[in-house]
Symmetry: C2
Subunit: 233 residues, 2 copies
């Protein structure tokens, strides 16, 4: 890890806007980036291309793509042949919830971090403008850090695993502003759960709605283009 | 899950003796078994065959083998091209430790359980005759259950995720006796980290040493055959 003299942070890089901003904040804090992208059979494959572009753009020292076929378990509209809902963001946990996704992803990120001697992990979860997923809540993130510190050699011998969730208390508008402040090309990121055949984001799934609303509230233009025939958020 | 009327438990089935006994105890407690085996690129591929045989023998209703290439992270003698130590069981955490393995495996098991509507998970860890891995300790298992309950829809809506670790406080001799009581053919399981070219267990790695010592102390014969030219444990 000492090649550059900078401490290493492992960033969970999905390719979405939040993970891009979270990774850029890690870099801003002086960490060398080891990026981890998990290919879990998500229907929105465009995310993976986005992750590659972002890792290169942010100068990640390492980028590992790990295949994990969560479709073998079934149970989510993001991996199975189930319609992605387009009716707007509701109160209940939606069908796009992937069982235990952040638990699995943070565990893999911890394994990657420990393998490289790092204890700092960045994840782009946020608990405000989110889809109601239980694994985005602060109490889960805090509890995970404690568990990971107990269950790893590095946690026991070197000090606690630190989960940085810098977007935790940001709204999507805050995140859009943060992307702007950091000078990020948001067009490199991808959020849509259900891309159209023409390669444009659908504009109507929860993820598109939250993103568009955020940029609109911040009064900023999203680098990502939406089809003009979709009604505004 | 209601096909048989029995509640479902997900059992983490490595193919080792401990996971076999743990799964058999789940069945004895009246659970229908959904077995999960993780192919993480371990050098001891014989474990995977053993897991298949055990799942069939115990009548598992489902058995998923999930590929997860932890070699991409590096950092362990169990997945990398590093010599497995044969000098005996020491005090420190050994090089056979796989970074965050049980954290990752329990997270995947939780995802599998939640996908099938189950909250009961069985894992064969034990904290007595073990190799000094931090992720076998009771405080880790307890903390994990709490984290998993916070980070899943099923944990939030239906009730806590329950991690059963029935071998937690057993010695290897206790586990050998338990296998005997349950009428298990221990020859179906596989523990060796470094199988010989002739297909026999090495008899000298930590895992072989602990297993042989356990059967010897219990005064029981292991169904698994060792090469006669290996010095006794």
């Amino acid at each position: 890890m000492a090649e550059t003299g900078e401490p290493v942070a492992v960033v969970l890089l999905s390719g979405g806007l939040d993970s891009m901003v979270s990774a850029a904040l890690a870099r801003e804090q002086g960490f060398a980036l080891h990026a981890l992208t998990i290919d879990y059979g998500q229907r929105h494959r465009r995310e993976l291309d986005a992750a590659r572009r972002i890792a290169a753009e942010l100068g990640a020292a390492r980028h590992v793509e790990l295949a994990l076929d969560l479709r073998k378990f079934g149970g989510s509209a993001l991996t199975d042949d189930v319609d992605v809902p387009k009716e707007g963001v509701g109160e209940a946990i939606p069908v796009t919830y992937v069982p235990a996704r952040n638990l699995v992803f943070l565990s893999l990120t911890t394994a990657f971090a420990e393998s490289g001697g790092a204890r700092d992990i960045f994840i782009g979860v946020n608990a405000l403008d989110y889809s109601g997923y239980p694994d985005c809540r602060p109490e889960f993130i805090t509890s995970f850090a404690h568990t990971a510190s107990l269950g790893t050699k590095i946690g026991v011998e070197d000090g606690p695993i630190v989960i940085h969730a810098p977007l935790q208390y940001m709204s999507k508008a805050d995140i859009a502003r943060e992307a702007d402040r950091l000078g990020l090309d948001t067009g490199m990121s991808w959020s849509c759960y259900d891309p159209r055949a023409d390669g444009l984001p659908c504009g109507a799934c929860d993820s598109c709605r939250l993103r568009r609303k955020g940029f609109a509230e911040a009064g900023l233009e999203d680098g990502l283009r939406y089809p003009y025939d979709i009604p505004p958020a």
